[in-house]
């Protein structure tokens, strides 16, 4: 029986830039930052209200995860175009968070709009991913 998700992965073009975005701008906490002798870095962060959900920020172009060059090239293309949809980030107030993050230099693909499920803006992390940033009804 599976009862919860403990880890989810976001692939990123650059782990240090990802650290800056998720920790310094969004305010996530670092759960684990461990680097192996071969340079593989396991960087796991947790959202402010979900200390038990590890989001690992991994670069698929390094390490052993994806040795196949075709797979790596596919990842490279998707990440460089910022095409990977990372999921939905919840905010209690979409418009306020939009104003705040915009002031911090975050790039949005769309500004807050009323949807049938709430108010949604499309946010990018600058390292390959976009998210729905939603205030649910």
């Amino acid at each position: 029986m599976i009862t919860k998700m403990s880890h989810a992965t976001l692939y990123v073009t650059d782990q240090q830039k990802a650290y800056d975005f998720y920790v310094n701008i969004l305010g996530f906490s670092v759960h684990t930052d461990a680097t192996m002798d071969n340079g593989f870095r396991w960087l796991a962060v947790t959202p402010p209200d979900q200390p038990n959900l590890n989001i690992t920020l991994l670069n698929p172009l390094t390490g052993f995860m994806y040795p196949d060059p075709e797979v790596r090239n596919a990842f490279k293309l998707l990440l460089e175009k910022g095409s990977l949809g990372g999921g939905v980030l919840y905010t209690p107030d979409c418009r306020a968070t939009y104003e705040e993050l915009k002031a911090k230099g975050v790039v949005f693909r769309s500004e807050p709009k009323e949807q049938f499920y709430g108010i949604e803006a499309i946010i990018t992390d600058g390292v390959g991913n976009w998210f729905s940033m939603t205030q649910t009804k």
Partner: protein
Amino acid sequence: MPIPPDVYKKIVTAKLYMDENFHEPIDLQRISRQACLSRFHFHRLFTRIYQRTPHRYLTQKRIEQARRMLAGKELSVSEICNQVGFESIGSFSVLFKREIGSGPQHYRKEARMRQEQAKRTPTAFIPHCFIHPHPGD
């Protein structure tokens, strides 16, 4: 009743002011002045948008910064207490424990142990499927 866009900007401006100046003795009057709103209106709108009072937000911001400093810097607990804007070590310890679940000294000890372990044996933190080639790859 919806909050007008210009008022959102005012509240966000005040929040960003708190984010940048949390280590200083900030009170409601000073923050609401940043928003060009009366104390009453600012308190009401901030609480509605962020689902916590400005005072609680400021306390959480200070605790979060203290948490990072305890894990990463060599300063004493009382130095950190002062640097993040608390006036008394007693109230800092009580509030830290309430927010984080353990006292500052205990938190620091555990964070340091974890960091040491991550340095010594990084593989203890990384699921092996991420560091070894998958069968069939």
